[in-house]
């Protein structure tokens, strides 16, 4: 017991073989190990068998509407930031059958559910992503209703987090107080450091399960120098943040600017294609589809990722409440950054930058807020002058 | 006559008019009754009166060739019927029909118009009051036109 307590507090170190062992152990314990891997020019989250599947020696260059993989001049395992996928695809799948039923005379019966989803071990989750999971937890677990499917998946995960050693071109987690250092929500957290051309990982347990697993992995206590590297790595990442978002007074800024002309301006560019909401690790909106087979004897209910950018989303008999793209963009950003706070007690944005990178036309949430702020201050200065007169 | 004057003085529509102005109005006023379905006025006729409904219900309707009358609005107890007497060319725009036995005070618009010309204070007071009635009716008509309960089948 005392051993475990020490582990929880103490920083340890293991190398590539230790990391490989960690993956094997997780698999032996029945976890499906999922993590970053390269697929068609992007780093996505998928099943990984071993550390060989990780994007070793690769990095990603990101800008508004632009993502490119490049070779690094080292063999870092985590030398990139986040890609188009987020962990929500494992916890809150894009398409989920909620139940199936068959006709039973003049009524129907709901059928037994199939086997539970696998237990996932998330390898390489970043601080922003842990915050995103915590945000979705509040939506699906902390309200008056509990999403039992999400709860089932959520309680079975094992999280190996990674502190970011660099920030991407569209990252702004620092502004959102959501990274780059992982503070909670993990079982183990790694910081990748280089020492004499060796990949070393400073590791810290964040849960008893993490500490227990670490026992089985060959490791040694971190030296003082290695511990110092951890904070250096993180502060390097902070210094590299590609974007910033001024969050002062953000909620009221958005609320008082619902009629701002900026919404029309962004709507000229916005495609309402919904990519931003699909890649967002916190966007949780879904639609429900009731289906039948051709015989009409079998029915299913599916839940699918949906987006506030579609016309159907706000459909009330007769038409869409938000028929214009400007209203939909305003709804998305106002929800994300303002009304989310009223609903769930925190911002809905973790500053991961995915919505900027994966917007086909490069619309940038940080730029939009800055522009709104400017328009707002312009407006308020005019109002102030008028008042004086 | 005195009861008529008191009724006018107490009516919310004429609130805050001076005693002299009330007396003046009372001079142009008289009681009137309409039986069920009796027309109070018809579209196109000269509009030289207005009514304060004391009891009963009046229906305003418009007559459509081939389709008969279409009801526009009902005017109830305490409400004012008619503002066309105030606006040239002083013709009624709709038909007004009593839906049941109705009692009202009728005011002679022609007489009032000339009094308003002489006494602009009175003219202003009446215009203010009637313009708010015109506004309310316009607003109500507009909402009615929206047909808000219409089916919107998908």
């Amino acid at each position: 017991m005392s051993q475990q307590e020490t582990d929880l507090e103490q920083l340890n170190v293991f190398d590539l073989s230790g990391f490989a062992k960690l993956i094997t152990l997780l698999q032996e314990k029945g976890y499906t190990t999922v993590g970053p891997t390269v697929e068609e020019g992007a780093i996505v989250y998928d099943e990984i068998d071993s550390i060989e599947d990780l994007p070793i020696g690769l990095t990603d260059e990101q800008a508004g509407g632009k993502y490119e993989l490049r070779k690094r001049n080292d063999h870092a395992l985590f030398g990139y930031v986040v890609g188009p996928h987020s962990w929500k695809k494992f916890l809150n799948p894009a398409g989920l059958r909620l139940w199936q039923a068959r006709r039973n005379g003049r009524s129907f019966e709901v059928l037994e559910q199939e086997a539970p989803a696998p237990s996932y071990a998330f390898i390489g989750a970043r601080a922003c992503e842990l915050n995103a999971i915590a945000i979705q937890d509040r939506v699906f677990l902390k309200g008056s209703f509990v999403d039992s499917d999400y709860a089932g998946r959520r309680q079975n995960i094992f999280v190996v987090a990674v502190n970011c050693g660099q920030a991407g071109g569209t990252c702004f987690c620092d502004s959102m107080n959501a990274g780059p250092k992982a503070k909670s929500g993990y079982d183990l957290v790694l910081t990748e450091i280089k020492a004499q051309k060796r990949n070393l990982f400073v590791v810290e347990a964040g849960s008893e399960a993490g500490a227990n697993l670490l026992h089985e992995v060959p490791h040694e206590p971190a030296t003082e120098k290695q511990m110092a590297r951890v904070s250096e790595v993180v502060s390097d990442a902070v210094a590299q943040m590609g974007r910033q978002l001024d969050t002062r007074d953000l909620q009221s800024l958005l609320y008082r600017n619902s009629g701002n002309g900026r919404w029309n301006e962004v709507a000229e560019r916005c495609l309402a294609c919904a990519n931003c909401t699909m890649v967002c690790p916190t966007c949780f909106c879904s639609t429900v589809e009731d289906t039948t087979d051709l015989t009409g004897e079998h029915a299913e209910r599916w839940r699918l990722w949906d987006s506030c950018f579609t016309q159907e989303f706000s459909y009330v008999h007769g038409g869409s409440v938000r028929s214009s793209i400007s209203a939909r963009y305003r709804q998305w950003i106002t929800h994300k950054l303002a009304s989310w706070v009223d609903q769930f007690g925190s911002s809905g944005c973790v500053g991961c930058g995915r919505c900027i990178t994966w917007c086909p036309v490069g619309i940038d949430i940080t730029e939009e807020i800055a522009a709104l702020r400017e328009a707002d201050s312009g407006l308020s200065s005019i109002l102030r002058t008028e008042e004086k007169e | 006559m005195e009861t008529l004057q008191r009724y006018l003085a107490e009516h919310p529509f004429l609130k805050d008019l001076s005693a002299e102005q009330i007396t003046l109005l009372a001079g142009c006023a008289s009681n009137v009754r309409f039986d069920t379905n009796e027309f109070i006025f018809r579209e196109g006729q000269e509009a030289d009166k207005f009514y304060i409904i004391r009891h009963g219900k009046i229906l305003l309707e418009v007559f459509r060739p081939n389709q008969g009358a279409l009801a526009i609005q009902t005017i109830d107890e305490g409400e004012i019927l008619g503002w066309s007497w105030l606006v040239p060319p002083y013709h009624w725009h709709f038909d007004a029909r009593a839906l049941g036995l109705t009692r009202a005070i009728v005011l002679d618009g022609k007489c009032l118009r000339s009094k308003c010309e002489e006494d602009h204070d009175l003219g202003y007071e009446l215009l203010k009051r009637f313009s708010s009635i015109i506004m309310e009716r316009l607003q109500a008509t507009r909402i009615q036109l929206l047909d808000i309960y219409k089916r919107n089948d998908a």
Binding site: G41, L69, A94, T291, T310 | -
Partner: protein, 277 residues
Amino acid sequence: MAGKVEKPVPAQTSRRAAKPKLAVWKFASCDGCQLSLLDCEDELLSVAAGVEIANFPEASRAVIKGPYDLSLVEGSITTPHDAERIHQVRRASRFLVTIGACATSGGVQALRNFQDVNEFISIVYASPHHISTLKKSTPIDEHVTVDFELRGCPINKMQLVEVLSAYLNGRKPNIARHSMCIDCKRAGVSCVMVSQGTPCLGPITHSGCGALCPRYNRGCYGCFGPMENPNVPSLCERWAAMGHADVEIYRALSTFNVNAEAFRKESSLYEKAGDSE
């Protein structure tokens, strides 16, 4: 166009009496959409059990006189004879569903709408005077009332099965009108436009194919036509900024759904470049 979806459909459910009669009609088209129905191998037996296929030129020669409960109409209207025939089909059909880009927007043959047809005819045919054709290729809903439009070149067979199931069960078909991107992202496919600079019409294209091309690392060709209120100008500007010439943009928009208004409107702005080449 695709908005007018449902008429009240009586519940048919398990108490179905006679099997509803299904007819498939062909106008100017390549037959590819009809073949999607034959392609539903796994579902075909259920389809056959659910409906009586009363007229289906690609599958059988038997022709049963109408009326039909459900007509699937493939192809566009290009000849005076077809312009008459579609009215007969409409009169004989309780529900009329158009299938495919030809029937819903005029198809690739609508390219002629913007050219001189007689010139084409004289170039292509040895005896042009035998040819009787209209100046334009037009979608079915310009001629008769359409109950539901199923998009695609060709249509997606699963969507066809969905429309048939919905019809047989008297429910609303689950056919979304949003962008192809939503399907792409649900499938976990990385955006080819962002990560590889591949021009892709996905962000303005109607969903339905299941993101077929991006799954194979290609940009979307817009086979399903414009999505609900597409922002075509913004995407085209982006393509131009990515270095694509006007003529490429013109050509991308001038394919199977060239006659769809949102595409046509924008492609006409880039058309000059296309001509001058």
